[in-house]
């Protein structure tokens, strides 16, 4: 009883907050609150089996699936709160209130009689789980079997819509090597990795061409775009400076000896 009066306001508030929250991920978390509270209410109402299932299946599996998809879509995605359909929100709230009111009236008008409670049934069946099992595998066995069709459909559907089959076999490393050598043979495309840009004491950036062992500039080390823009660093002066240093140092060495 206390559990109900504690949880009921939390659930209603969570539900309303869920409808109003901007971020989808907040909605999911609020839904989790409701679901776990529901599980407790199930426990309160002599349904321990459902208590477990609600937490394991609903909160644990279903809601996690939601979160997965939310992550795929983008966790940060949030709804704009401006309503675009004219009158939609007002009408929806009015109709929702009317609807809820009518259901509540119907429920409160009903003469339900005294609550039978599940104690007898449980005792008779030898426990809640046993009772459910006995019913599930006798009275509702066909429906139970048919749910397998449902699960298979779901799996099939997920496969059809989400699984992209490879139409061509994935190339192995060997295939790639063969292809590269083939390209080199037929069109002279460089088979290996391209040389990186040059790195010098003073410059270490992509606009500096690498130097080949003979001191010439490697054309392959600079992207064509930069060349077209003319932003390639001219390394000839640097090289001239270097040569000076080289000469000097050689002279020093020679002088010293």
């Amino acid at each position: 009883m206390i559990a109900f009066w504690v949880l009921a306001p939390i659930m209603v508030v969570s539900a309303i907050a869920m409808v109003m929250a901007r971020k989808a991920v907040h909605c999911a978390l609020l839904l989790a609150v409701i679901m776990i509270s529901l599980a407790v209410l199930y426990a309160v109402q002599n349904a321990p089996f459902l208590f477990a299932v609600q937490i394991v299946v609903y909160t644990g599996a279903v809601l996690m699936l939601f979160l997965f998809v939310l992550m795929l879509v983008g966790v940060d995605s949030s709804d704009s709160l401006v309503e675009t359909l004219r009158g939609q929100r007002v009408t929806a709230v009015v109709l929702g209130l009317l609807f809820g009111l009518l259901v509540v009236v119907a429920i409160s008008q009903a003469t339900l009689g005294s609550v039978v409670g599940l104690a007898d049934a449980s005792e008779q069946a030898g426990g809640n789980v046993k009772g459910i099992a006995a019913l599930l595998f006798s009275r509702y066995v066909f429906a139970f079997e048919v749910t397998s069709a449902l699960l298979i459909t779901a799996a099939l559907g997920a496969m059809v819509l989400a699984h992209r089959e490879r139409l061509t076999p994935k190339p192995t490393q060997r295939d790639m090597v063969t292809q590269r050598m083939h390209d080199y043979a037929t069109s002279g495309i460089h088979p290996g990795a391209l040389p990186g840009p040059g790195s010098f004491a003073r410059h270490n950036s992509v606009d500096t061409p690498a130097l080949l062992p003979d001191g010439t500039v490697s054309e392959l080390s600079i992207s064509r775009v930069m060349r077209a823009r003319g932003t390639v660093r001219d390394v000839s002066r640097d090289r001239a400076g270097e040569r000076e240093i080289e000469t000097e140092s050689r002279q020093i060495e020679e002088g010293n000896t």
Binding site: L85, Q88, T91, L95, L98, F99, L102, V103, V105, A106
Partner: protein
Amino acid sequence: MSLLYLIVAIPAASAAVLLLGGRLADRWGHLLGAIAPIASFVVGLVAFVQLANGTDEALTQRLFSWIDVGSFHVDFALLFDPLSAVFVLLITGVGSLIHIYSIGYMDHDERRRRFFGYLNLFVAAMLTLVLADDYLAVFLGWEGVGLASYLLIGFWQHKVSAAVAAKKAFVVNRVGDVGMALAIMLMFTTFGSTSFEGVSAGMDQATSGTATALGLLLLLAACGKSAQVPLQSWLLDAMEGPTPVSALIHAATMVTAGVYLVTRSNFIYDQTEVAQTAVVIVGLVTLLWGAVIGCAKDDIKKVLAASTMSQIGYMMLAAGIGPAGYAFAIFHLLTHGFFKANMFLGAGSVMHGMNDEIDMRRYGALRGAMPVTFATFAVGYLAIIGFPGFSGFWSKDKIIEAAFGENLLIGVGALVGAGITAFYMTRLMLMTFISERRWTKEAHPHESSLVMTVPLIVLGALSLLGGVLLFNGWIVDWLEPVVGPEEHAELPIPATMITILVFLVVLVGAAVAFVLYGRDKVASNAPARVSPFTKAARADLYGDALNEVALMRPGQYLTSSLVYADNRGVDGAVNGLAAFVGGTSGSVRRWQSGFVRSYALSMLGGSALLLLAVVAVKLA
């Protein structure tokens, strides 16, 4: 007779061959198409002789059971009783002549085979309609002729107006069919049967409310099919079809189905004063309505169509009067079938000779160019205005007599109608054949070929001699088993007086027309924006002030207002309704906004309403 089914089967089979045969059948299709109704006619004639000589009241043949659910049972059976017999002979006889005529008329049309296929389909459906012994089977034929008529009106697909007219005919007819469908359901739930026999047997116990409802619903159906006010608007437009179609369907046969229905349902109408009165009123209004419209049209076929409407009004009037009128309704239906088919075919012959010109203001003095057409048309003309001795004289005279017997006012109405008929038919005659030539140089009027003129001559002869059916009261005796014995009402004036009166009124009508159109020029272009009557009045009658005030103004006013009503009022009601439905559709479909949330909203709204409904019921 076990071969009764052949009457329907032959044209049906022929239609199937022609429509499914493809190009193979192009060469001989029209011949097969023309032979089919002739063969039917022969079978019908044999059956007729058998019926006339036998002691049985009717020949029947049960073909198969169509629907058989519990005690409800619809056989597909044929009933060849005196009433059906007359119709079978009319349909196949006149139909055959029109088929033969069509061979010539449609000679140049490359889709002639298809045309004959549709014609045969129509004949088969019409024969189903009159041979059925069950309202449900009648309904089958009823829809069948509607469909065939739709196909034939729209036969010239290239004309947009034809397509529009076909659609209009179909839809207006469907409105009438609502009446028929509801009547059949009412019969079924009241009597548990829809056969003529079952309903007729059940009528004795039926309440007058049921009888009235049935009568009014059937009248609605009859109005649709027979182009009676307020569902008349489609008939004039239907003239867009080829002329043989107008002759066969929109003059001689299909449009008379309403009269057939009312006469056939005599056991219903005999139980209900209200419905009978309604039939009489519809008939009277239509006969005047059609007649007045006939005065204002320049299109030769439309004049004839308006006149058809008006003549069917006479038949409805007679049928509504009850036992005193049934036989004459059918009699007039027969003679009208002869002379109207004759005149339509004559009009077709004229159009054929005039390069499909339909405006009478472009005719004139055609009597020399087409002597045979002129002669046969003249016979038809004399018949329709009721010139003594011609077939129409006998039949119309009897109806007017019966109308006087019913009520003085109705009699006067019918009498006035006869006068107006004489007026517009004389006008047509004068403008087409007599007055000076107004056709252009390109037209080379010439007489049609033999295949077209022979049917005209035969029909002309029938128009002349159709009156013999009344000889010795034969038609009345013949139909007695179906419609019951004729009743004679007290006439306010002696019958001979009525005959003379009718003749005088007819003469006056013809004379007025002669005065207006016979002496002077007819404008070869209808003046725009002013009714043709006005123009004629302006041209001819300025001097005659008295005449103008006393006759022309009211006449003019009546004509133009009626034409207005026809174009805008009634037609407008149909069009307006269509526009209204269309407009509603256009705005309502905006609700389907494409937003899934709006759909969900409507669902929530719907469920809230459902809940509200049941909870309110519960709490109240």
